[in-house]
């Protein structure tokens, strides 16, 4: 019997386990399906991690290393090469069950009083399914190509087109160029990039790789291996414009079309989901609709910065400790955070009224110039948070003042207000 089982040994699981230990929880098990801790950070060998958390610029493996060493200082039990297959929530305060499979322990049913979900996300392949044309070899998600190159040591191709301008695609454009490949173009269907501006500069502009906004792949040719990709401009409704075709001779197409939280276990456990984040609905304590089950990191919503993953996961670890130490808050609180105009989602989605100020992550659904996000509660209280620009590619963080939270009756609405700054 464990007090806490953490599912996933990426930055989210590591931070949650460390923090729960610091808060006094002792029987903690961390389960990771890979042979090493660190999660996706092990393949993100570039730098740019940790500026917020450690005030230093680290590479992915270095950032993971800090937390792995921190975990090594605790008595948290770690099981590698162990896959969590199923979660069965306990009824009426009974322990939860986690079913696992591993080469060393076989199939096991573990009991625990609390669980932190930290299984991360995987790459969307939807873009691949919707691609017209033939189905030759040479089409990869950017993250798969990153794993081949940085972990296994294989360059997946020599002449490359990248579809989607997410950060992983941009990082791979630079990485493959430095390894001797020719990256011909990065193609983005939206009129703006999905990645950070700094990555457009240091990954594309540094290497003279053209970025085609409002363009998409409209044909693929090749029998065994990819030979040719056709790219066309799209109109305001994202429909290809005839006559704008450009043909690229290439052997590789990378897809960088977004990430999606990996929540099969969460759904099977009957945990309430948010269809906007594709993650669980949580309170400010990162607790899901099942008491004692918490979620954090990319399994909850896709983060662009690992620093925020750590911060959020430390909160989940602390909340799991508080729950175990006799501060169990029953299911989800009723105070809702609603998405008004311009807001794509918020995390958390629910708040306890008595918590004081509340930290909220959100994303907008369009690019703006100077604008404000307005938080308004149903008692007429408002707060404004101004920014020079908003973009869907960049997750924002605000702190709602205690007063706004305390006076709200049923909901607080976030909305984007342009031009009034």
């Amino acid at each position: 019997m464990y007090d806490l089982i953490v599912l996933g040994g990426g930055p989210a699981g590591l931070a949650a386990a460390c923090r729960a230990w610091q808060e006094g929880v002792r029987r903690i098990l961390l389960v990771e399906r890979d042979d090493a801790l660190g999660g996706i950070l092990n393949q993100c060998i570039h730098n740019g991690f940790g500026l917020h958390r450690f005030s230093e610029e680290l590479t992915g493996p270095e950032y993971a290393g800090r937390y792995i060493r921190m975990l090594g200082q605790t008595g948290v039990e770690v099981r590698l090469a162990t896959m969590a297959l199923q979660i069965l929530p306990g009824q009426d305060g009974a322990p939860h069950e986690v079913h696992t499979l591993s080469p060393t322990h076989g199939y096991e049913v573990l009991q625990t009083r609390a669980i932190v979900l930290a299984m991360g996300c995987r790459e969307r392949t939807r873009g691949a399914i919707a691609l017209p044309g033939e189905r030759p070899a040479g089409i990869f998600t950017a993250g798969a190509a990153q794993r081949y190159l940085n972990i296994e040591g294989y360059l997946v191709g020599r002449r490359v087109v990248i579809l989607g301008s997410g950060d992983i695609g941009l990082i791979m454009a630079r990485r493959m160029t430095l390894e001797g490949a020719k990256v011909l173009a990065c193609v983005e269907v939206m009129p703006y990039s999905g990645g950070l501006t700094r990555n457009i500069v240091q990954c594309l502009q540094d290497y003279d790789i053209p970025l085609y906004l409002s363009h998409t792949v409209t044909d693929i040719k090749g029998h065994d291996r990819l030979e040719q990709v056709t790219v066309s401009q799209v109109d305001a409704n994202r429909r290809p414009i005839p006559g704008t075709e450009m043909v690229f001779d290439c052997d590789t197409l990378l897809l960088s079309v977004g990430l999606i939280p990996e929540n099969e276990l969460t759904r099977q456990a009957g945990i309430e989901m948010d269809r906007r984040t594709h993650g669980a609905v949580v309170s400010e304590a990162m607790q899901t609709s099942v008491p004692g089950i918490f979620a954090c990191g990319n399994v909850l919503h896709v983060h662009d910065l690992v620093d925020y993953v750590s911060a959020e996961s430390e909160r989940a670890g602390a909340a799991a400790a508080a729950y175990l130490q006799g501060n169990p808050s029953a299911s989800l609180p009723s105070l809702r955070l609603d998405n008004g105009a311009g807001i794509a989602y918020t995390v958390p989605q629910r708040l306890h009224p008595g918590i004081g100020e509340a930290q909220v992550f959100f994303r907008v659904n369009r690019v703006t110039g100077p604008a404000a996000v307005v938080a308004e509660n149903d008692a007429g209280e408002t707060s404004r948070f101004r920014r020079l620009r908003f973009a869907p590619g960049e997750m924002e963080r605000i702190t709602l003042p205690a007063n706004l939270v305390a006076t709200a009756k049923e909901h607080i609405t976030l909305r984007l207000e342009e031009g009034s700054v």
Binding site: I45, H46, T59, E62, E152, D304
Partner: protein, 117 residues
């Protein structure tokens, strides 16, 4: 006057650098941006991250970086040199694999700890 985007942190401030005026920088959200703007126009540098061959471990590649930024014009040459580097497990994080890479003053260091097999 030149407009560039600061790449030092994810904020991505839009900098204006005045070459005629001692490379004075405006638009920076913090002092690091001013330093970046100055060096970017005179001697652009980048930290290089890549991998080298690894032996004696289950993993085949060891992630590495230069421990400080090196001139942008030397990145290709540095990559060619990395092709010849082989590391042997065990490796500690921060271990120097090549000292003073191409005379830049930067060391090539390991970024992941690899225990002996």
């Amino acid at each position: 006057m030149k407009e560039i985007i600061c790449i030092v942190c994810p904020r991505g401030c839009q900098l204006t650098v005045d070459e005629a005026n001692g490379y004075a920088v405006t638009g920076n959200g913090c002092p690091r941006g001013a330093a970046y703007g100055k060096s970017e126009l005179q001697n652009p540098t980048r930290v290089l991250t890549s991998t080298v061959r690894l032996t004696g471990a289950a993993l085949r590649r060891l992630p590495v970086k230069t421990d400080r930024a090196i001139p942008k014009g030397k990145l290709r040459e540095a990559m060619a040199l990395l092709d010849t580097v082989v590391a042997h497990a065990p490796v500690t994080e921060g271990q120097v694999l090549v000292a003073d890479l191409l005379g830049t003053g930067a060391n090539l260091v390991a970024t992941r700890e690899i225990p002996a097999e």
